[in-house]
Symmetry: D2
Subunit: 311 residues, 4 copies
């Protein structure tokens, strides 16, 4: 088979300070659709082109940040093998199985904490409730799109201390590839950022070396064009959403992007563009003197906020 193992980022669970304000943001401004709520008060949402039951989970808490990120794997057998391999690797901690049904429409999930302190989970089943256009004679886009209307949840960028351990776990155990990296330090030998992929996308998850564990930089959603990035920027202004930076382009991944904050301070991205990645593509390396254009290609300068504001 051509695509096996970890298939895609399947969900991100975010802590928000005020669920009502968060829902206005994620539904009316970002344009996700609400799927359901559960008795814990969690709200499950998805983007219009996603087939699976949900991709975003919001939960009201005292602090903002990412609770966990979930990955769809290709089968139950793969799920069991990954659980065994992760355990054997010694790279993860707090390993546990979350029973089927704890997320609505979702099978059992294998949860673990990676060296940078983030909680990840793998699962092999989530109900396919269908995308907005259906699978018989579909139109290219559905009626009723609203807000920025991204087509899907795309990736997360996370900050943490043991970057090397996390990269080792993702590449050696979970089968990810290193698409791009930022290096620096003495002799340019230290990897300070790693953009990893399990697909043809330039990244499915990325990590940046940071003093603290388990920090969340942003979760990202995919748009179809640079013009949709402009429309997103306009909506950010209209709705007085806190803008971080953009519209601009990343050097890394070539993405056309805009960053902004949800009402709890969690950073979001919507972006378009990028390239098609293949596992035999040489890793792109960005050196320390090019960290500016690597992150923000147009300004060629990394702003302080990019490095320090995380949840």
């Amino acid at each position: 088979m051509a695509m096996t193992g970890v298939l895609r980022p399947g969900h991100v669970a975010l802590r928000v300070l005020d669920i009502k304000a968060a829902l206005h943001h994620y539904k009316d401004v970002l344009g996700l659709n609400e799927v359901c709520r559960d008795d814990q008060g969690r709200v499950f949402l998805k983007a219009w082109d996603e087939a699976d039951h949900h991709s975003v989970v919001l939960k009201e808490c005292d602090t903002a940040g990412m609770e966990y990120m979930g990955w769809r794997v290709d089968s139950d057998a793969t799920l069991k093998n990954f659980a065994k391999d992760i355990k054997a690797s010694g790279l993860a901690t707090d390993l546990k199985w979350i029973p089927a049904g704890e997320h609505p429409g979702t099978g059992e999930r294998f949860r673990f904490t990676i060296p940078t302190g983030h909680v990840m989970e793998l699962y092999a089943h989530k109900d396919v409730t269908g995308c907005g256009t259906g699978y018989t004679n579909p139109d290219p886009w559905p009626e009723g799109m609203h807000g920025m209307a991204p087509s899907r949840f795309d990736h997360c960028l996370l900050y943490g201390d043991d970057l090397d351990g996390t990269v080792k776990l993702f590449t050696e155990v979970l089968g990810f590839k290193l698409a791009e990296e930022l290096v620096g330090g003495p002799g340019g030998k230290q990897r300070n950022a790693a953009f990893m992929t399990c697909s043809n996308k330039p990244h499915d998850v990325a990590f940046i070396r940071h003093t603290e564990k388990n920090k969340f930089h942003h979760c990202s959603f995919f748009l179809n064009s640079w013009e949709e990035v402009l429309k997103a920027a306009d909506l950010i202004s209209k709705h007085k959403v806190a803008l971080d930076i953009g519209p601009t382009r990343h050097g890394i991944t070539r993405g056309e992007t805009i960053y902004f904050f949800d009402p709890s301070g969690n950073r979001n991205e919507v972006f378009a563009g990028g390239y098609i990645y293949y596992p035999d593509k040489p890793t792109i390396t960005w050196t320390e003197d090019h960290v500016g254009p690597a992150i923000f290609y147009h300004t060629r300068e990394l702003n302080e906020r990019f490095l320090t504001v995380v949840t």
Copy 2:
């Protein structure tokens, strides 16, 4: 590993009636870069964002059409296994090994004829000579782009008789998935077109049922935006290239597209857009009464030329 087996369409070899006219078309209008020529008079070209040695092979012949299409597989072991499996399947004919070096910069290729009559080949090695932007602190696009400037060779659409055999070979032996299909005939039971993928792309190759074997409908190249499709359309007119249809959108794959002919009558496509495919995505089915919008979403009518003009 996440992506294994057949990785991507690696090259298409086209027969052209006049190599000089063909080179003007593929280099100056389409915008490919010439890599080298060999002593058979074959010319090897590639698009600006392709890492491998070449992706298009042009050869002057008495008739136009596709000579063969090549696929990059992940390793020598996979190549050997596929050769064995293809032989065992009994679905292919004319199996043979082409020695390394027959294509410059390319390892040995396993060649076979599929049930629709087309010649395919698999290979595990082609020199990585690098894309136009390099791999250290790259700009998002290189200097010197010209013509339509597609980023890569993307897929072929082929016409042939034994569609079922070819689909069986690609899906059961080569690990492809059926992303979209057109069905018709009595009870809507007959598959008349199959769009298959070995990646996250909506298609890497497609076949349409046809009375004759081994017919070539088009080879396709990827653009970054709908605006680049407009620019391509303008270049088609400026250079008085024979336009087929477009700019328009396909219902199938959602692609934003334009079709045109090289001076020998081989159809080309440049396109943008599409969606991200995953192997667990339900197959999209187009019924016979929707064949119009399936192919040309805006006109909702299949023109005669789409069905009959092949090389």
Copy 3:
């Protein structure tokens, strides 16, 4: 003053066969907003960025076509002078004054029939009811846009017999300039089409020589981008509107365009792009052998429908 005389196309009054079907088309698909109805059953509409009371008038009749087209002039004095000059020119027939209030929110209109048989009217007053974004700290676009959402009514293309008389009237009496023309016939001396402007737009009205008087080819609405033309094309397909041609580009005016029909068979256009015209710009001439690219730049062929289907 810099801009004087005839300022802009102010309204087009169309005959439709079924007002309910027409309203679905012009409101839900094209995306105009209904302003009001009058006791004759006429419905008045406008686009989101238009300040004046209305720009489209629909009236149910037994035949489709254009009833009349109205032009805003800069002042009452100018209106009176034009009325006098038109009369003096001997070029127009059926001169009459329509009293103020016959159109809601509109002052008196001077109506006349031009040599090609079309009914035109001039007026100096229409209530400024404001555009969708307002005039104090406006956002760049309003909430609630729907359908194709053009920003304004832009121009009409009309077919008629005495093209020379109409061009004489518009250029010598009404102060229009000839931005582009199609010539043909013996020695290429006959003007077969005239694209005229009273502004910086490449055209505010156009005429094509035709055997019959008073034929309506299309009325056109302005979009902001080529991507909005794609979205319009998608909506045409979704709503199964009768498509004429497009998305494509006109050679004349460089416009990026799509043509389609309302349910009564009246042709509509939405388009983007074009250039800025100045009154000292040389007239662009298209010769008979270039009539194809002049009209449809990509196909370089005039289809029969363009020349014969009028209402």
Copy 4:
């Protein structure tokens, strides 16, 4: 006639510190074409879609800034009348006639200093040497476009002290209209910025109240699309041009924009979009609390550099 008086911004003369560096910038990066040089060492350039002889004049000097800005008027009679009216108004100083030929291909120019200290000139003749596509069966864009490839010089934004005097001169003597304004101060009564137009463009020149006389904020060039703004941003980074801000949108005029500096520190803009202005359109007013979104709609914040960096 429909368009009379001052027709358009015809040229801007800039002082640059190093003509060689400036030419690299204006030709290779911005993408203007060099027309000619004169014996004073001045270099005359134009954009690809401009018909007239030149639109940009560069001259090596010890200080950067704008030397003067020129306006094309419709006729010699108008030129003479404006000269008389300007003199009679008492609003301008340093009135003088520059003889024909002082600029190559240009008739006599009437030069005067406006209340904000800027030097303006009017002229009625400049040789029409033609735009890049010609006037007979033109393609929509010419071969050989390079750099950002704007289609024309569009407007200037200037800083100076006596804003009221300059607005009075432009609106009451030269026939301009006030499309948009920023107000503030006690009771919101003071006009701090004025965007004025002599055409259907949202602005042909703009002024911002400032403590010093005769300061230059930027000269601006027109692009066809938001995607071209992205390409311009990419070129700014590739060529390591000093970026000011963008890509972003202005609230004022709705323009999609990017600002950057030439090697001498003169600010340039390339932009797309905007709306069509008519002389009866209500003036758009931006209040002091909305100055942020007025200038930079996405960030909603005026950066210090916008207010202080001028030449």
